[in-house]
């Protein structure tokens, strides 16, 4: 096999692309957990909803409309979920939350089937992202480059919001110590609401950008859930740094595992998760508090 | 019996324990005094192993136990009670004592027989319940007994491991003066060969039961000696009594 530097560059980009997709998903989940101590297993279902909304909207106004509105629509679902369920479940233990959101997975999965049927939905990448870019002596699909750039932009935007703005400071205070944040006069309820909706919107965004790459099926939410959970548990629940590190680790292990040890590819990531939990029971970068 | 050598611990910029060296003889009753934030509880946590010191060592009956985990130190005869009740709320008083006694008598991991029904466990439960005066409440759940009785049970649970050294973190915190006197009696009735280290806020009680007194301030031992000497110490009055009266 003609395996050269170009090959490894290509694989590194594949790893990065997968990492960025997972980052979009895990960041929302982990911040929601860090702030509210709430584990939303239905996060994957929201990602699937994002893909469905996008495929549906694209039929009317093309990819870019779908790209902009699908996250908004999923955030809208987030508003409903928050006011209907999540708000009341905040004080319940982790198990009750796991179960309610487990029930939500069931319900949302069948709802997508009822509305959109069992056949996969279509969302094509826009023409301007359809080709390939040539750089470093390799050709790489433009759309994948777009996902990488989008991930980095979201990362930079989040870093800015969290690091440089007042609401960011509130969120950081809340993650560190929610009681203290409340003492400082922060409207915790409102903050939770905003963060939950932004998390949902990011899940919807991930679904919308993943749709042209994959197939939009009812099960896609269930399929992405486990990788997302692995990412945030490896990184440390509630930790921003952890979500970034976890996504990168997952992307690299999955991509290079598939190349170097294909027989172990699917077991490898679970083994890594187990190893991390043995050595650091609260993940690599646990949130303080 | 229990000794620390140059114990030192920092939390970031805060120096919580500074070069603490204390030594308790067998059967000694020592009271640790000091204002809030003086590092008393942090010292306890290092003694039992819930915290690891940055420097220095802890010795139990002449053996260096600095690297031993909490459970192993307890099995070697070191036991503690907590300032805030850490009882098993859903369980009865007898079960609370029984859990501890079962561990001490190696019945805690039996699969097929009930540890609480073992005669050696029952004996300890009865004995300790008598010592800490909770006999009438043996079958009541923790949630059903009064705060004062819970404080007694808190010490009882620690005693049920039949320790050689007992550490008590403010046993009388939050109880009224009558109850505090009861504690005083309880302490005096403990076997004379039991080494006891008490963190105490109540000066009267402290001077009453203590053979020796250690005063901590900002993590540092500022006084170590007889109660009589402490009573007259000007230093103690300044750093301790002053802040005590404020509080």
């Amino acid at each position: 096999m003609a395996i050269d530097l170009g090959f490894w560059t290509l694989q590194a980009l594949n790893a990065l692309q997968l990492s960025m997709l997972l980052f979009l998903l895990s960041i929302g989940l982990t911040v929601i957990f860090g702030l509210m101590h709430f584990v939303n297993l239905a996060h994957g279902a929201l990602y699937a909803l994002g893909a469905y909304f996008a495929a549906w909207l694209a039929a009317y106004g093309g990819f870019w409309l779908a790209f902009l509105l699908a996250p908004v629509a999923v955030a809208g679902v987030g508003v409903l979920l928050y006011s209907g369920l999540i708000k009341r479940m905040r004080k319940s233990g982790p198990m009750a939350q796991v179960l309610v959101t487990f029930g939500l997975i069931f319900a949302l999965l069948d709802l997508t089937r009822i509305f959109w049927g069992d056949l996969p939905q279509v969302l094509d990448a826009p023409a301007m992202l359809d080709g390939r870019l040539a750089f470093f002596g390799i050709e790489y699909p433009t759309y994948r480059v777009f996902i990488i750039v989008l991930g980095l932009v979201v990362l930079a935007a989040l870093a800015f919001v969290l690091g440089r703005t007042q609401i960011g400071a509130m969120i950081r205070a809340g993650v560190d110590n929610d009681a203290m944040a409340a003492c400082l006069g922060i409207n915790v309820e409102k903050l939770f609401f905003v963060v939950f909706c932004v998390g949902c919107a990011l899940a919807g965004l991930a679904g919308a950008v993943a749709a042209p790459l994959l197939s939009v099926t009812p099960e896609m939410g269930l399929q992405i859930l486990i990788p997302t959970l692995i990412v945030i548990v490896i990184g440390g629940l509630g930790s921003l740094k952890g979500a970034i590190a976890g996504s990168l680790i997952y992307g690299v292990v999955q991509t290079f595992g598939a190349v170097l040890a294909p027989q172990l590819a699917s077991v490898l990531i679970y083994a890594l998760l187990a190893a991390v939990l043995v050595i650091k029971p609260t993940g690599l970068f646990p949130a303080k508090g | 019996m229990l000794e620390t050598r140059n114990l030192d611990k920092r939390f970031g910029a805060v120096h919580v324990t500074r070069d603490v060296s204390i030594k308790l003889e067998r059967g000694e009753r020592r009271v640790i005094l000091g204002p809030n934030g003086a590092g008393k509880t942090t010292l306890f946590n290092q003694l039992v192993g819930e915290l690891t010191p940055d420097k220095g060592s802890v010795h139990l009956a002449g053996v260096d136990v600095t690297d031993l985990p909490v459970a192993k130190r307890t099995r070697q005869g070191l036991s503690r009670s907590y300032q805030k009740n850490t009882l098993f709320d859903g369980l009865t008083v007898a079960e609370n004592l029984g859990l501890a006694a079962a561990i001490h008598t190696s019945n805690a991991t039996r699969i097929w027989s009930d540890s609480l029904a073992r005669p050696e466990v029952q004996e300890i439960v009865q004995d300790v319940a008598n010592q800490v005066q909770v006999l009438p409440y043996l079958q009541a759940r923790v949630s059903e007994i009064s705060y004062g009785v819970r404080r007694q049970l808190e010490v009882g649970v620690a005693l049920a491991t039949r320790p050689k050294v007992l550490l008590m973190d403010e046993p009388t915190s939050g109880v009224g003066p009558e109850m505090a006197k009861g504690f005083h009696r309880l302490l005096n009735d403990l076997p004379r060969d039991l080494t006891v280290l008490i963190i105490e806020h109540d000066m009267d009680l402290a001077f009453d039961v203590a053979d020796t007194i250690t005063v901590l301030n900002y993590g540092e031992v500022v006084f170590d000696g007889q109660p009589e000497a402490a009573r007259g110490s000007k230093l103690l009055k300044e750093i301790y009594l002053g802040s005590w009266e404020d509080a």
Partner: protein
């Protein structure tokens, strides 16, 4: 052996033979209506219903159909099969999408002596090692679809091939079928990878390897959602131009090809049915199916359609209970949408032509251009020792 299986299934005492009116045949459909294969279940059911409507008048028998959702869980499917046999007392069963489900119900069906018309599952062993006189397959076998393609591709001047398929029994059987004839014809396999089944969403790493392998072409088997992701990603990496994509025809099944879009154009695959086969029987079927569902039939629809037709043909011989239907089903042959097809009595597998087709842009979306019709060949016996029907 048979007695113990019967006994284990709770059938030993008083196997209740259906006591229905002589010419009413009760049919149990075992199909997934939820889970990942729900779309296939619906497609097969639509084909089956259409087939009964269409051919039902040719026989004097009447049919009543009970459908059961097998999900994609073999234990659930087995429970439902038991219910059909014991409680509903069906005369014949049809359906089964996944090989796992077929494996699970095989002993039960064989032991109870209830004829089963397999309408999808392609597991080679079902008409090989584990064959049964009660199990007649009207769909395909994994090897059958891929074997002719090996010879054909070599004949087109393709010498080096890289293969990819999901890592499960069907994936391996499909690829093995292809590799067997391709290497026999003088071709070379320069690389092979099996991707984690239903867990692989990003094929990028494998595609980069295929590209680096120095192959002339890539031969793959993927189906359903994985097929869509694969074809789209293959195209996005720009591999189609230098490294043409071939495969088992499920890759560009009419059921999924529209979700693949232009990415599927130019992909050449082989299958036992495409909706553009030029024959009166097929034209009639396609028209009827489009009229009924509004979409072009897929190979799954034709499985259901032909299963129903086989049942009607069998009943025309006068067969009306489990034993006679089982015997009659083995002798069925007819000229259908797929062409002339028959059952090989040695294995009870269908014998049918295989079509090589290219997915091309048509007037109303993607369509299939048949490049070659490869002659029907009976599967090798594969260790099948067909027992006689005894009851």
């Amino acid at each position: 052996m048979k007695r113990t299986i019967l006994a284990a299934l709770g059938l030993a005492t008083g196997i209740a033979m259906p006591a229905a009116a002589a010419d009413d045949i009760k049919v149990g459909l075992l199909l997934p209506f939820s889970g990942v294969y729900a779309a296939l279940g619906n497609e097969i059911e639509a084909g089956f219903t259409l087939g009964l409507d269409h051919f039902g008048a040719e026989t004097e028998a009447t049919f009543s159909v009970v459908s059961q959702d097998t999900e994609v869980k073999p234990p659930v499917a087995l429970g439902k099969a038991k219910k059909l046999i014991l409680q509903d007392k069906v005369d014949v069963m049809a359906g089964i999408v996944s090989s796992g489900v077929l494996g699970a119900v095989r002993d039960m069906v064989h032991g109870a002596g209830v004829p089963l018309i397999v309408a999808n599952a392609g597991n080679d062993a079902a008409t090989g090692m584990d064959c049964s006189p009660f199990i007649t397959r009207m769909s395909f076998s994994n090897g059958q679809v891929n074997r002719p393609m090996g010879t054909w591709m070599q004949a087109q001047g393709i010498n080096k091939v890289y293969t990819l398929a999901p890592d499960y029994a069907a994936g391996r059987q499909m690829i093995d079928g292809f590799v067997e004839t391709f290497t026999a014809a003088g071709g070379e396999i320069v690389g092979q990878e099996f991707t984690p089944f239903q867990k692989t969403q990003d094929f990028g790493p494998y595609l980069a390897q295929a590209k680096a392998s120095g192959a002339d072409a890539v031969y793959v088997f993927y189906a359903g959602g994985e097929a869509i992701s694969f074809v789209k990603q293959y195209d996005s990496f720009g591999l189609k131009a230098d490294l043409p994509l071939y495969g088992a025809g499920f890759l560009t099944s009419p059921l999924y090809v529209n979700a693949e879009g232009p990415a599927a154009e130019g992909v050449i695959t082989a299958l036992h049915y495409v909706p553009t086969i030029d024959s009166p029987a097929n034209a009639e079927f396609v028209a009827a199916f489009v009229a009924k569902t509004g979409r072009v039939p897929s190979e799954f629809a034709v499985h259901g359609y032909d299963a129903a037709r086989a049942l009607v043909e069998a009943s025309k011989t006068g067969a009306n209970d489990r034993a006679t239907l089982a015997a009659a089903l083995r002798g069925v042959s007819f000229d259908g949408p797929r062409g002339q097809m028959s059952i090989d009595p040695a294995t009870n597998n269908v014998v049918q032509p295989i079509y090589v087709y290219e997915t091309v842009a048509g007037d109303t979306g993607l369509t299939q251009r048949v490049l070659a019709q490869l002659p029907a060949e009976a599967d090798p016996v594969n260790g099948c020792a067909m027992p006689a029907i005894s009851n």
